[in-house]
């Protein structure tokens, strides 16, 4: 406070000037009795008049400040700037100089004031009151607003991080329980009476459960869960909150409860229930508005997560039919396959393979591997059609050429303009070898690795399918001895670009070289080896779809060993 240079407080002139001052002014003597007050002060302290004791008529903070000031004065007023030589007679010298003597602040009714004191010569104190209600409110509002904005920004970050519905509900409960209330419970839309519920108390653990509830047992819940028509958030009588909604970990009785619907983008999004213990202040209107803002964000995040879950479950279901199958041993012949789609995030593409097991031990199994022109989902859809068509044509698999002709006709008659190349390989186990019948339809010829590491190309060729009215193909027969493999592959392998210099093709010779090391390997190992070399060759570069299938003759004792071992014990 500045030292105000004014004349002694007792001056009549000044008293007159107070009378009309726009600020409330109260003059009180050392004993705390009001000497005088101006009009503005009368307006604030309506019951106050000269002669009253301050402590009877004004709020405690002011009368207390006055008492302290007067008490200080009698012991020597240490804050006084000019007591250097007059400690023994504190009031005497300073009687000439009124000076600022501190300030205080507090509420009067619903307004708040700063009170500045000026001490007069006679020990009287003039209290100047400045109404700072608006400034204080503005400051509080600003502070609150900043906190909310930063919380909402934080909440948005947290809510956006996961597309998993459960995780999203956990985060919502956690944030609400730490920032908005003592405990938060989220009730998700359920099936019938069963609703997933997520709750969190304070900064504690999130608890997830499924509750079997009657939604009408809690006022406002059924409507809020319905999502539409929109309902506002509402307070409910804590006594009417059913037991199941109050988390066990919550300390003390529930004092207030707010139910806020979570907006769900057209579908019911669930309900956020905020609980406060009776020890804490109830929700203000402000807090409730804020909770609604939070609920809007949480609801949006949950809706996105639900939509993602729904879409991903649809995709998974549809994709299941398009994904390459897991291959294994069939009737004494080993099959293994490997697949890598071109796009980083793609799972399917234009390459495909299948193995259709023969009905009996001496029946042929049919392996198919092919490549539809194009990439991505659209190509994958056509691979699905080809795979289905071939499946339907299985009874005719003893004549590959005929099977391909029928497939060709089917493709020409469909609305797809794409074409495909493929290899058919029918395999049946004989005593010490596997008999293969192999036919290529415009596809790279399969490679065969012999026990001694020599690599041969299957002598088969034919036209691709889906373009010409009439097609031709030649089928070749190959016998695979024990430990020998036949590799079906797509050009994604041989045409993979990369290597140490970055732009070389993997090429036929590298594939043959790799394969010659695969003599005697089980089918899975052959596939893994080829896939690994091609993937390493490509490195982080772009590549086409890549598919490989290995057909191998295992040792006669091998496949039975494990099955016998496993089933023997199952009986035990």
């Amino acid at each position: 406070m500045d030292t105000t240079k004014t004349s002694p407080a007792g001056s009549l002139e000044l008293r007159t000037s107070w009378a009309s001052a726009p600020y409330p002014v109260v003059l009180a003597d050392r004993s705390g009795t009001v000497v005088e007050l101006n009009t503005a002060a009368s307006a604030v302290f309506s019951a106050l008049s000269p002669g009253d004791r301050l402590s009877d008529r004004v709020p405690e903070w002011l009368s207390e400040a006055h008492r302290r000031l007067s008490a200080d004065d009698t012991v020597g007023a240490p804050e006084a700037p000019d007591t250097s030589d007059a400690a023994a007679e504190p009031t005497g010298r300073r009687a000439e100089e009124p000076r600022a003597a501190g300030s205080s602040s507090g509420q009067v009714g619903d307004r708040s004031y700063e009170a500045h004191a000026t001490r007069g010569s006679d020990g009287d104190v003039v209290w100047w009151l400045v109404d700072d209600t608006d400034r204080r409110l503005a400051e509080e509002a600003l502070h609150g607003e900043r906190q909310r904005t930063s919380f909402l920004a934080e909440a948005s970050n947290a809510l956006l991080s996961s597309l998993n519905v459960n995780r999203c509900m956990e985060v919502t409960a956690q944030l609400a329980a730490t920032h908005l209330a003592d405990a938060a419970v989220i009730i998700a839309p359920g099936k019938g009476r069963r609703h997933p519920m997520t709750s969190c108390v304070g900064s504690g653990e999130v608890v997830r459960s499924i509750v079997d509830i009657d939604t009408t047992s809690m006022p406002g819940l059924a409507e809020a869960l319905q999502g539409f028509p929109p309902v506002p958030s509402r307070w409910i009588d804590p006594a009417s909150a059913p037991e199941w909604v109050v988390p066990e970990e919550m300390d003390g009785a529930v004092g207030s409860v707010v139910i806020t619907p979570l907006p769900g983008h057209g579908t019911p999004g669930g309900v956020l229930v905020l609980l406060r213990t009776s020890g804490r202040t109830a929700f203000s209107e402000d807090a409730e508005v804020f909770a609604r803002l939070f609920a809007a964000r949480a609801g949006a995040a949950l809706a996105a997560a639900r939509m993602y879950a729904e879409q991903s479950s649809i995709t998974t279901t549809l994709m299941r039919e398009l994904l390459p199958p897991t291959l294994h041993q069939v009737n004494g012949v080993e099959f293994a396959g490997g697949y890598r789609a071109s796009g980083q995030s793609d799972r399917v593409g234009g390459d495909f393979y299948d193995v259709h097991p023969g009905a009996g031990e001496d029946q042929e199994s049919l392996a198919v591997l092919g490549d539809v022109c194009g990439k991505g989902l659209e190509a994958a859809v056509l691979t699905g059609k080809i795979r289905n068509t071939l499946h339907a044509l299985l009874p005719l698999a003893d004549d590959h050429a005929r099977m391909l002709r029928l497939l060709n006709t089917a493709l020409l008659n469909s609305h797809h303009t794409r074409f495909a190349t493929l290899v058919l390989a029918s395999a049946s186990r004989r005593e010490d070898h596997t008999r293969l019948r192999v036919t290529s339809a415009g596809h790279p010829a399969p490679l065969v690795v012999r026990r001694d590491g020599t690599v041969e190309e299957a002598e088969t060729s034919g036209s691709l399918v889906g373009v010409l009215r009439s097609i031709k193909s030649t089928t070749t027969t190959i016998d695979l001895g024990v430990g020998e493999s036949c590799l079906l592959f797509t050009d994604g392998i041989t045409e993979a670009r990369g290597g140490p210099l970055g732009d070389e093709m993997f090429g036929d010779s590298r594939l043959r070289e790799a394969l010659s090391e695969c003599a005697g390997m089980p089918a899975e190992a052959v596939v893994e080896r080829v896939q690994m070399l091609a993937a390493d060759w490509v490195g982080r570069g772009r590549h086409d779809d890549m598919a490989v299938v290995a057909i191998t003759t295992p040792r006669p004792d091998v496949f039975s060993a494990l099955t016998r071992g496993a089933t023997g014990r199952r009986r035990a």
């Binding site: 210099l501 732009d503 090391e517 005697g520 035990a572």
Partner: protein
Amino acid sequence: MTVRTTQRPGPDLDPGVYRDQLWAALREGDEYAAASAVFEGLENGLGAEQILLEVIAPAQGRVGEEWAANRMTVADEHVATAINERVIAALAHHPAGRVRPEHGRITVACVEGEWHSLPARLLSEVLRLRGWRVDFLGAHVPTPHLIAHLHRTGPEAVLLSASIPTHLPTAHAAITAALAAGVPVLAGGAAFGPDGRYARSLGATEWAGDARAVARLLLEGLPRPDPTAMHLPIEDLPHLADQEYTMIARTRAELVRATLTGLEERFPPMREYTARQRRHTAEDIAHIVEYLSTALYMDDVRLFTTFISWTGEILTAREVPTHTLGLTFDVLGAQLKDFPRARALLDQGRAAVTDSPHTPIPGNGKPA
């Protein structure tokens, strides 16, 4: 065979017995003998987890060693690994290996580019035996597939496996993405360094040295990443701001080509190389550049020098004079004038070659 004895004392309860049997079977590529070794151990009272960690894992480890020491061919190694895979699968179907899940869901995956999936597979089985619900995604999992899986299943943690240090930048991408999806990451495998130091610098929640440590950490519970922390991947590795890694990784093929040409000028015998020898040299240079860029990524000298000492030993074994390595560094360094961190690494690498005691790799037939 079907008589089940429990807790019989004696050598039957020593996993070493079955490990030796299994190893012999793997060496022969005999799947039948491999399966009997394992099932016999099980019937004689070894626990399924003991079989996995004390019989199969060390036998597989030995496969790797023998292969590295040139005593097993690539084919032998693949056969042995395939047999182990099958044995593990059969073990999972054995009554002793059937467990009712009592803990949460866990995802196990190898980072993209990582083909050695057996350690991760063993880990998955151990966790399954300990009552976790495990989704094993296998070798070479592209990060987008991993993240889609995490969003779909919301597991309690993801276990990322990588064995070769050059996969670290890819591992970083996977770790960052998993954490951003709100899933804690436990990193494991030789790539992360013997003490897991790289796991920590890449921001992984935890690192574990073996399957039992993983199980222990999971049981204690991994903290979820703070979803409100706006973490940028560059904050893990602030040195990346100099862009040296980015530039070198992007121009890797050009660097290899230029180095190959430069070497030919400075090392006349190379002009007589066969196509196969030239290819090997190109591959060696590509490896050096890859380790160099990984060391730049991690800002870790040891990552580079360890690899260089090892390469020096291999070259010595191949009877290639190691001073070609020094030459390679000179030629590389000349192209990397504007890359102070890379040049410093090359200097350290050169020192590592000179210091290398040229220990020959273990010779033919003798066990290491």
